[in-house]
Symmetry: C2
Subunit: 364 residues, 2 copies
């Protein structure tokens, strides 16, 4: 069969190999799932109840306009319903952003080793990835993402899109709101900042705010992390209404699961997110302290995971392999200078215990 | 913000306006939802139970390889796991097919007034739609889709893709397996037949079979119709393994809802589909007979809906509007020669009663 030139020339790689595939390969299941920054606190009880009830309605398509959820989000965020586009997670929305903004060959700038699904879509839609390396170190509020270098690349390559996650994944580090705003102002006038805020709820300091009609930025949020609904596949983007209408021209209108919509709506109305943020902060402090007591320094984190410094790429790989052999699923950054780190999701208190036991066993 | 040339020039239309948007516009809810061929028999009880139980696991991403479901499907269909690609419904998979097979400007052939989401993706990915009209009439086993005209268009335009739904939507009519096979053989050698079998389970006669490694055809199936899981967004395509690997390069790997996967798996293992097919056949015969008694002829149907002949486009539009005003959601084909029909989903026995009552009220 004839394959399009674009797809034929794409590499056969996937953004992430799932833990289930690793389990099938290794022949035993993971006891601890700390590799995808899923929420160990689960969905809100209110969301579970709403989803259970909605399963019987699964014979009906969900409202393709997602009106009820967008209205609830608009009220909460102080934006218009027309400023919101729903998607099957940020992954889906990032692909739409590349389609909406990029002509073939257009440059899209991001950190080398940043979120691989963005790079996947850039290649998949025929745009061109340009990168700036992360910085090796960070302090609280001044993250690994090298904003100066990214702005420079964006100018040099005349980037149409600039993707930054704040807080960042995979480092967990963050920049303060004012720094991100200054970064936006330093970008080329016709570049669009794609600001991935998947972990923003975990930040103690405020996220940068923009008027929803601001022409320079599209923000992405998700129910996958603090809301504990990764498996539901639902997220949203905030953007000028005129741009949202462009997304409407290409998005999959019947692409979101009806049960997921019910769960997201119920979770928004609950106080679950606030509780998860609190529990995560306690667990993260404990995990960082316990690892510190063992001589391992973690990168500053404003997320539900930590970047454990292993000292070298080889040692980080050995820790990942050793933990997996002990039934603990973790991942690590692939590219220097962060590839000497192991990314560990902050678990519940018993999960942190179990993680430390496996870690100690590995080091013994 | 800069919009890509492709998206900027797309029209601001959506494939379908949802019933919820119509309800918001008209100010009252529909009492009967017979416009989207959703299954009035709902999901399998086994699927509901599995989905209810899976809601608690929604904090975990689904297996991006969908291994368990693909294995179950492979066993049932007698194909390899590598011949199957999962998607968030056929809509999702059709978009992927256009990406995988089409260079910009490539011709994609289908019936004028056929499934609008295919045309939406063809435009959205920069390919070019070419069409052949439906035939105005059909007999059982010899449907409205004009296969000779489609094959001619495919040759004239050097079509890369040819989309046919069998049974067809929106007409409900069908061609026998042998006819579809002959049609495939009549297409250009390098054209790919996209065979949408969303309603195939409702056919009394067998669907055409192909060796999964046959280079000429990609078949699409869904859990939205006979399985009553439209809101779950899950479907699959059967194709040669080498082509499936091309789909892997561009599909959204974490795009399917975890609860949906559990529901699909449980529904497959149940006898629900067989029961729904049986009930639908009884209801369809009753609906056709009752409409016939009122002087309305329906197109032959091998689906869970019927094409009610209204006599003219104007009368069909009046029936749609009149039914909607009476709380009954139906849709109609948009293009000649089928635009004089109203498409009515076959409901449960009480729903057929209620539909006929509204229809009689409208005619009074």
């Amino acid at each position: 069969m004839p394959i399009s030139r674009l797809v034929r020339d794409l590499p056969s790689t996937v953004p992430f190999v799932g833990p289930e595939a690793l389990e099938r390969a290794q022949g035993f299941p993971f006891a601890l799932r700390l590799g995808a920054n899923e929420s160990p606190f689960g969905p809100a009880p209110e969301a579970i109840a709403a989803m259970r009830s909605a399963t019987e309605e699964s014979w009906m398509y969900a409202d393709p306009e997602g009106w009820e959820l967008r209205t609830a989000l608009a009220l909460r965020l102080g934006v218009g319903v027309g400023n919101l586009v729903l998607g099957a997670g940020i992954d889906d929305l990032l692909g739409l952003a590349v389609r909406v903004f990029c002509d073939p060959g257009d440059a899209c700038a991001t950190s080398l080793g940043g979120y691989p699904t963005f790079a996947y879509h850039v290649a998949g839609y025929g745009a061109r990835l340009v990168t700036a390396p992360y910085r090796a170190t960070a302090t609280p509020g001044h993250g690994c993402t090298d904003l100066s270098a990214l702005a420079e690349v964006a100018h040099d390559e005349r980037a149409r899109l600039v993707y930054v996650a704040n807080p960042d994944n995979p480092s967990g580090t963050w920049h303060e709101a004012e720094t991100v705003r200054e970064f936006r102002d330093a970008l080329p006038d016709d570049a669009v900042l794609l600001l991935d805020e998947a972990y923003a709820e975990f930040m103690e300091s405020p996220s940068p705010t923009w008027h929803p009609e601001d022409e320079g930025v599209v923000r992405f949020r998700t129910f996958s992390k603090v809301h504990g609904l990764a498996g539901a596949r639902i997220g949203y983007a905030v953007m000028p209404a005129s741009i949202a209408r462009e997304f409407e021209k290409v998005r999959l209108h019947f692409g979101i699961n009806r049960v997921a919509m019910a769960g997201a709506l119920a979770s928004l109305a609950s106080d679950h997110a606030a509780r998860v943020v609190e529990e995560t902060a306690i667990g993260r402090a404990r995990l960082v302290a316990e690892l510190g007591a063992r001589g391992y320094v973690c990168l500053p984190s404003a997320t539900n995971f930590v970047g454990l410094g292993a000292g070298s790429r080889e040692r980080a790989e050995a820790i990942v392999a050793g933990l997996r052999a002990r039934g603990v699923f973790v991942r690590k950054p692939a590219h220097p200078p962060l590839d000497g780190h192991v990314r560990v999701t902050v678990g519940t208190a018993p999960q942190i215990e179990a993680f430390l036991a496996a870690f100690d066993d590995l080091r013994a």
